[in-house]
């Protein structure tokens, strides 16, 4: 297989995989905390602090 065909194959397979992976990351549950000093902390789903906060948020929706 020529190098060109390999690159085309990578583009057609890797592109959608990368896109779907990013979409999945975007849809993950998380909490963003913003502080007065301009800093921000993100708590990903699965972190102990996030679980509690997400449960409270879920009750509000």
């Amino acid at each position: 297989m020529s190098m060109r065909k390999l690159l085309v194959l990578l583009l057609f397979v890797g592109g959608p995989v990368l896109y779907l992976s990013r979409r999945r990351d975007e849809r993950r549950e998380r909490v963003h905390l913003y502080y007065d000093d301009g800093s921000m902390v993100t708590l990903e789903d699965g972190a102990p602090e996030a679980e509690r906060l997400l449960a409270v948020a879920r009750s509000a929706l």
Partner: protein, 139 residues
């Protein structure tokens, strides 16, 4: 601006906000876009719980929490606070967080501004002048 008008402006400006509640510094509901008082109170309670839980665990080194977003698959909950007042809002899934926070902060700041509906009162000096004029007439 009063809280109800500020919330009306918010929902008009931000199509992403589904419901919003303004709380005072004691955590009491000041105004809400939700007609159901029980649901408003539940959203307010959730906001206070979120601020409390996030603050207790994560406020360190003198910094304090000003706003938070809890992003769930079914929607997001935003809380912002400024000068004692807080606002909590719910949105649909995957909102534009920056815009929602901007709109919430704008709403809070509009509450902090003094009412401008009343016409400006005349200065005290003018009133005194009138009184003295009347006095002159009587004399």
């Amino acid at each position: 601006m009063d809280a109800a008008s500020a919330l009306a402006d918010l929902t008009e400006i931000s199509s992403q906000v589904e419901a919003a509640v303004v709380l005072d510094d004691a955590g009491a509901v000041v105004a809400s876009t939700i007609d159901d008082a029980e649901r408003s109170a539940r959203l307010a309670r959730a906001a206070l719980d979120l601020l409390d839980a996030a603050g207790k665990r994560l406020e360190q080194g003198g910094r304090s929490l000003t706003q938070l977003e809890a992003a769930l698959r079914e929607g997001s909950v935003f809380v912002a606070r400024e000068e004692g007042r807080s606002i909590v809002a719910t949105t649909s899934a995957e909102p534009t967080s920056g815009l929602v926070f901007y709109d919430l902060k704008t709403c809070l700041r509009s509450l902090a501004q003094p009412e401008q509906s009343e016409p400006a009162r005349p200065k005290r000096r003018t009133a005194k002048t009138k009184v003295s004029e009347i006095g002159d007439v009587d004399a």
